[in-house]
C-alpha cells in the first residue's frame, strides 16, 4: 500500500528536483511533457482501464484549449477563470459526446469519436474570424497569470505544470484504486458479467469518458495558458492519436505509464523532426511496432514480469 503511494510521491519529488538541475532546453521540454502527460493520464483511464479506444480525444483537449484561450481573449480573464472555463467546456463536451458515442461499441465507437472530433476540428477552421483557424492566436502575455504570479516565465511555468501533473497523477491513482476504478477494469474485462453484478455499464463508461475528458480539458487549458498559443492543429486528428501513442508506448492500464510514454515519444519526435520534415514517419512506425511487439508498453511489460503490485 505505502510503497505505491511512496513511488508516486517519489516520482513527483524527482521531477521537482529536476527543476533545479535541468538545462534550459530540456526544462522547457519537460514542462510541455508534464502538461501532455495529464492528457495521456486521462486517455489511459478510458483506454487502458475501461477498455474504450477513442480516436477523438483531441476534441476534449481542444475544448479546454479554446475554452481557456478564447474566453481569456474575449473577456480579459486571467489564467484562473480561463482555466476553469476551458475545463468546464471539456467536461460538458465529454458528457454530450459520451451520451451519443457510448451507444456504440468497438470499431463503431472508434469511428464515431473520430468523426465527432473531425467536426470539432472543422468548426475551429470554419469560424476562423473568432479562432484564427490554422494560423491560431496568441493569448496576451499580461493575462497569463494567476494570483499575480506570472505563468509565462520559465520557472513558474515548470512549477505550474508540475503542480497540475502532481494533482492529476494523485487523482488518477485514487480513481483506479477506488471501488469505481475496480468496476471500470471489470467492464474492460467482461462487460456482460459486470452488468450481472449489478452495475450499469453505460453509467460507468460515461463516468470514465467524462473523467477522461476532464483530464484532457485540464491539459488543453493549461497548455494554452502556459505556452500562450491556441491553434487548429491541436484539434486535428493527430492530437487524438498522440495520447494513444503515449499510452501504448508507456504502458496500457498503468498509472505512471503515460509519463514514461510521453517522455519517450516527445523526445523521439523532437529528435526526428530535427533530422527530417517527414518526422511523422516515426510516429507511424512507433504505432505499428508497438501494437505488434509490445502492446502492453514499457511499464506494462515491466509490471507483467517483475512488479505485479504496480497500479
Amino acid at each position: 500500500m505505502n510503497r505505491i503511494l511512496g513511488l508516486h510521491v517519489g516520482v513527483i519529488a524527482l521531477l521537482l528536483a529536476l527543476h533545479f538541475v535541468l538545462p534550459d532546453y530540456h526544462h522547457v521540454s519537460l514542462a510541455r511533457i508534464l502538461v501532455l502527460t495529464v492528457y495521456a493520464l486521462g486517455y489511459n483511464l478510458l483506454f487502458g482501464y475501461t477498455g474504450l479506444l477513442s480516436l477523438g480525444h483531441a476534441l476534449f483537449f481542444a475544448a479546454g484549449l479554446y475554452g481557456a484561450g478564447m474566453s481569456m481573449q474575449a473577456y480579459g480573464w486571467t489564467a484562473g477563470p480561463g482555466f476553469l472555463f476551458g475545463f468546464s467546456c471539456a467536461v460538458l463536451m465529454a458528457l454530450g459526446i459520451g451520451l451519443l458515442a457510448l451507444r456504440t461499441a468497438g470499431v463503431s465507437f472508434m469511428i464515431v469519436t473520430l468523426m465527432f472530433s473531425q467536426v470539432g476540428y472543422l468548426t475551429t477552421l470554419y469560424f476562423n474570424e473568432h479562432t484564427r483557424g490554422d494560423e491560431g492566436f496568441v493569448i496576451p502575455l499580461e493575462l497569463r497569470q494567476v494570483f499575480s504570479i506570472d505563468l509565462s516565465v520559465e520557472d513558474t511555468r515548470y512549477l505550474a505544470a508540475l503542480a497540475l501533473f502532481a494533482v492529476a497523477v494523485l487523482i488518477k491513482l485514487a480513481i483506479v484504486r477506488s471501488p469505481t476504478g475496480r468496476i471500470l477494469v471489470a467492464i474492460r474485462e467482461n462487460e456482460e458479467r459486470t452488468r450481472m453484478l449489478g452495475y450499469d455499464p453505460f453509467r460507468y463508461k460515461l463516468t470514465a469518458l467524462v473523467l477522461s475528458g476532464a483530464f484532457a480539458g485540464a491539459s488543453g487549458a493549461a497548455y494554452g495558458i502556459l505556452f500562450g498559443y491556441v491553434g487548429a492543429s491541436f484539434a486535428s486528428i493527430q492530437y487524438s492519436i498522440l495520447p494513444l501513442l503515449y499510452v501504448l508506448m508507456g504502458g496500457v492500464g498503468t498509472v505512471l505509464g503515460p509519463l514514461v510514454g510521453t517522455v519517450a515519444m516527445f523526445y523521439l519526435i523532437d529528435i526526428a523532426s530535427g533530422l527530417t520534415s517527414a518526422y511523422l514517419f516515426f510516429v507511424g512506425a512507433a504505432l505499428v511496432i508497438l501494437i505488434l511487439v509490445a502492446p502492453k508498453g514499457i511499464l506494462g511489460s515491466i509490471r507483467d514480469r517483475w512488479a505485479r503490485w504496480l497500479p
Partner: protein
Amino acid sequence: MTLLSARNLSKNFGGLTAVKDVDFDLPEGEIRAIIGPNGAGKSTLVGLISGRIKPTTGTISFQDRDITRLPAHRRVAQGIAYTFQITSVFANLTCRENILLPAQRGALAAAGPFGRIDTDALNDKAEEILARVGLGDRADTKATEMAYGHQRLLEVGMGLALDAKLLILDEPTQGLSDSEIANFLDLIRGVARDTTVLLIEHNMTVVMELAQRITVMNFGEILAEGTPEEIRADDAVQRAYLGG
C-alpha cells in the same frame, strides 16, 4: 410468503418458442431445482427472471413489485443474483478482486456517489466469502491460473458476495469432482438458511439431496412441480425425462 412470481411468461426467438406461457412461483427460503432435458427452456426461464433476456409476453414480480421492465443490473440491486452456466469469472483478476467486485456493490449503493466506504470491512467480507467457498488460500491467485472446479467455486462465491435474496445457479456442479460436489452441497445448505436458491441442475444426486421442491420443464412448458418424492413418482416425468 412468495418471493418471486411469474405469470404467462413467454419468450420467442424468431419462430422458436423457448418458454411458453409459464406460471412460476417461488416461496421465500426454499431451495428449488429446475430440471428437464436439453432445450426444455430452463436457461431461458432463469434468463428471463434475472433480466438477461426480455420476455415476449408475461410479467414477473419480486417481493410483490413488478420487475418485468427492470434492466438486469437493477434486478441485482433488488436482490436477484445470477451465476453463469459457462464460467465467466474475471480471468485476469485475482480471486480477491473477483469477490470484491460484487461485495462492494451494496456498500457503494448505500454510500452514494461521494460517500466513503469502509475498505477494511469490505476486505474482511471478501476473505470470509473466499473461505466459505474453500478458496481462502487462493485470494491472490489470478482466476485464470486455477483449475476449472475452483473457477466454478469462485463463480458461486461471486453470487454469494452480492448478498442476494434470491441466488440463481445455472448448472453449478458441472465439472466438479465428487469431493468438490460434497463440499458444494454443504455450502448451499448453509447459504439457504437466509437465501432462497433456484438452481438448474443435471446431476440428479445433487437435485435429490438439495432441492426441497422440483420444477420439471419440457418443450418450454412446466410439466410437473413437487417434492423430490412426488417427482420421482410422477408418470409424466418418468416418460418425458427420466426415460421410464
